[in-house]
Amino acid sequence: MPISDSQISDWIRAFAAAVAENKKYLTELDSAIGDADHGINMSRGMQAVLAKLDARQAADIGDLLKTVGMTLVSTVGGAGGPLYGTLFLQMGTSAAGKPELSDDEWAAALAAGVAGVQRRGKAEPGDKTMIDALVPAVEAVKSALAEGSALDEALRRSAEAAREGMTATIPLVARKGRASYLGERSANHQDPGATSSWLLLQAAADTLAAKDSQQR
């Protein structure tokens, strides 16, 4: 059963809700090794996305994801804006013209989005950025599907991989972004961007798979 346009909407809304709920937490993580705005910025952006979703005319999934990306780009600012914006824009390009996504198309779109983030930010896994959550999530969903898992299982493993990647940022010394200015002082703190990325993948597991199993 493919992923529908309205499921993608639900995923975005769930992510917005998770960001709103964790706004203070994300900002606190960012004050330790950054400039105390990641939660504020992401939440401002996702509120703008919600307004756009509500006003939106029905179209294809590519169009929906591009709208999300454009909105984030023009409302978030900082490093988070272009990076999350690029993620959704590239997912949108991958899903262009599609009214629904197969499991493999989802994995391909996510991979395209994450590749876009890497091209834009030039971060490698281990640099203590959102890439540390996103790259394992892509690998997990891909290998789960290759092993024949159902979508709900693949999404679960993808979110779990993101969570592990996020936790693994704690001991790291940052090499990209604002936290890198702190040098050794950046160790022993969890990266805020990796944390919001885990929220994104967790929201996918909660929304895309849940409906999927209901509709099955």
Binding site: T27, S31, G34, D35, A36, D37, I40, N41, R44, V73, S74, T75, V76, G77, G78, A79, G80, G81, P82, L83, G85, R120, G121, V173, R175, K176, G177, R178, S180, Y181, L182, G183, R185
Partner: protein, 333 residues
Amino acid sequence: MKKLINDPADVVKEGLQGIAAAHADRVRVMTDPNVIVRADAPVQGKVGLVSGGGSGHEPMHGGFVGMGMLDAACPGEVFTSPTPDQMLAATKAVDGGAGVLHIVKNYTGDVLNFEMAADLARDEKIEVEAVVIDDDVAVQDSLYTAGRRGVGTTVLAEKICGAAAEQRRSLAEVAGLCRKVNANGRSMGMALTSCIVPAAGNPTFELGPAEMEIGIGIHGEPGRERRQMAPAREVVEMLATPIVEDLPFRSGDRVLAFVNSMGGTPLIELYVLYNDLRKFLAARGIEPVRTLIGPYITSLEMQGCSITLLKLDEELTALWDAPVDTPGLRWGA
């Protein structure tokens, strides 16, 4: 949180409205997206100069829009880099046919957003060059960081490139000059107190009554190290030594010495600091032939200072001296 504001969420918007009303003779403020533009933009045949960054550093950048300096500034939320649509709108508004230079401070957010904006502008057939300013010697420049931050030299680059653009120099020349200023400028800053981001409502970091933070950036982020309070002359040494050693500045060099308040440090203290700085420089045979002393690149109400030295040659000196007419920097006009 003691601030003369209304709703913390409206600080940037209301500040822009205030700027628009106070300086209507010099600048025009566009909203949605927010851009401060020279009243007479675009100036035909002149390279357009665009900069931008988070708000809270006033007068930088909005206060530097006007004849002889920037053509447009993009103000982001407090301490958050602006977005590509602002930069695109600014670029379009100031394009007088000779191309547009983006002066970008080296922060991941600023760099990425300006990159996206430049791509969008090129799609619209506007010639865009970007120069990244990275003059903060507090950051080790290495493979292991995002590189040095852009701080005080940005103000000097905006002034000097603005003068060159008024002379109708080409985009390549103005961009080259900007890189030259960046290559010859070095800065370092320190704080006695943290600032309070209005939306956050409490200090970004806590300092004890006898502590100071050395090597801070301009966003209330922690610095390189925390130390016990020290007399002005020792603070000057802590900041100026890495600056002078880095370039390096040598005996016989003529420099522009820029002593900047982070916002809450009053002018009399800047003069005490400058008095120690000139002695520091004199002992090394470095001659400060131009000075800039005041709050020009600030972090809200933070108490503290930064020092910037720019090595001058005749070209840079003449461009520094050229007329400028902005709300924040004005002479000869």
